[in-house]
Symmetry: C2
Subunit: 331 residues, 2 copies
């Protein structure tokens, strides 16, 4: 058997191929190969579970996304959800529905990328499912993490007077998408779109800092995602447009556009940065802790008791835009 | 907003609709609505994790499968994997990729079925993902269960001389599929196909019995699935064709066929019964325990030290067939 295509390899061959590439990890008692994986939680910790599904031509296009970075991103966006709770990512399952004509090289590269991301963040692949798809590739990942109950950060703890923070820079992935749609390519921005880095360490450090009152990852744009914090915390907020952290590459790309693309930074999506709230007294400590993690974090607004989330421009005037983040089923 | 279709409802509306229908469950600290669900494992137990993906026109057809039973089955086949480890099912995630024109009624009925199955087996829905599909419905479920480490039953513990057991009856779902493909309908057999009942209680009782050396759920036919036990235990086995438990409905449907369909019972798939091995000394205890669970269990063969799995007919002669269970990508 040559094993150079999926039909020769078969389902169990493919599972073996992935299982052989996966290494065991902390807490894994029985990994891939039984009816269910057996894992052991660290004593005293609670479980964190999240899941994401990616569909070809809905979430990604094979003509843009090389399989290695697609594998990385499939796991990264899940790890980001654990980071958003201040959790430690531990174990993942990976289900793939695969078009019968898909080259095995694509799957090997995808798996290599997935497992590289797993290794970088201490995640073990413990199970999954493979089946044939009559249409495009479907990727479904579930991640399990853990954390001490008292350190877990939810969306619901923001208090009026807290500052609104964000890590890294915003809008890079959305700008990258704009470029890739035009067939242009600026490496940094494209990489921010195709190979996001989940803020695992920052999330854990923020959870341990005792300063943070609420946290979320920015996947649909800070305006929409802070909106979730506001809704669940029963608060509102003011976001200062001029304070949104932007990369030099974003600014350079923006210079070529007819108008400055504030909307990409506010609600462009796929930033996978952390947005969190903290009492102003914690400002110096947070900046110092984030510096130790090798990333920047910036206060970009303030939590209010009003139920609304407003954006103010550089002159302190309300900034309006219609689009409030990506919403499936709504055009 | 009328909320009578998916476009009006939108992604967040759909999530709310499902979340509102889901009830909390044991060990659920924070359910649907944050970046990750927070759950608490029972002290001293280990985690069991499994996942399955179902694709329209690969695993099910909407013209056969009503949404209520499709919702039930989507979770049931996952619960069955936890049962196969002797585990207690606890929490599930549900991801759906949904065609934009899908009636909301279908999704409501699907959710009602999923949650009914969840309620019957003590499972809480703790999270998921929804997105739009350009093609058919895609369902991805991940289940998390728990069990004391010393009670978990794997595929790898079978020893030569052990008896091979199976719960319930075999081949009903495969016969049901044959009927539904012909447009015929025998209610019992169709229900075995469309609404399988995972053997949760039997699995937990067998785990606690101290009698069972290995266990698996029969999803691809007992021949192939006992083959997994044999492979991971480094043993072989003999399965006695005449001892395979068959329902009266299966026998009645078989009477109308040109030849007796042994292959449906041996490797027809989707039985979702438990196949397990145990020392012959435990026979009476096992029968008594299964009776308490309200199900039958029957010894159907013997574990051997030879590496092969053989099937013997009623005369003790080798029975041959080519098809050894369903394998994706292989026609």
């Amino acid at each position: 058997m040559k094993n150079n295509n999926l039909v020769d390899l078969g389902e169990f061959g493919l599972i073996s191929r992935i299982a052989n590439a996966a290494r065991s990890g902390r807490g894994v008692v029985t990994g891939i190969g039984d009816d269910a994986a057996v894992t052991a939680l660290t004593s005293g910790m609670q479980l964190l579970t999240s899941t994401d599904m990616l569909l070809e031509d809905v979430h990604f296009r094979r003509c843009w996304h090389d399989p290695y970075r697609l594998g990385r991103k499939s796991l990264a966006i899940n790890i980001s959800d654990i980071a958003a709770m201040g959790g430690i990512p531990r174990w993942a399952t990976l289900s793939l529905a695969i078009p019968a004509d898909m080259p095995l090289d694509f799957l090997d590269e995808f798996t290599r990328g997935f497992l590289a991301m797993a290794g970088e963040h201490g995640v073990a692949l413990i199970g999954g499912d493979t089946c044939s798809s009559k249409q495009g590739l479907v990727i479904s990942v579930t991640i399990i993490g853990e954390q001490l109950p008292e350190l877990i950060l939810r969306r619901s703890g923001a208090r009026p007077g807290d500052e609104i923070w964000v890590t890294g820079t915003l809008g890079d992935a959305a700008m990258g998408l704009k470029l890739v749609e035009r067939g242009e390519g600026e490496e940094y921005l494209l990489n921010r779109l195709l190979d996001p880095i989940p803020r695992t360490t920052a999330g854990i450090v923020l959870a341990g800092s005792g300063q943070v009152t609420a946290m979320i990852d920015v996947s649909d744009g800070i305006l929409g995602d802070f909106g979730h914090i506001a809704e669940l915390s029963g608060v509102g907020g003011i976001i200062r447009l001029a304070d949104l952290p932007l990369s030099p590459q974003f600014r350079a790309a923006a210079a070529g556009l007819p108008a400055f693309p504030h909307a990409l930074a506010l609600s462009g999506g796929e930033d996978y940065e952390l947005c969190f709230t903290a009492h102003p007294d914690g400002r110096e400590k947070i900046i110092a802790l984030m510096k130790k993690c090798g990333i920047e974090a910036a206060p970009v607004g303030i939590v209010t008791s009003s139920p609304e989330v407003a954006v103010l421009d550089a002159n302190g005037q309300p900034f309006h835009q219609s689009h409030q983040g990506f919403n499936h089923f709504v055009s």
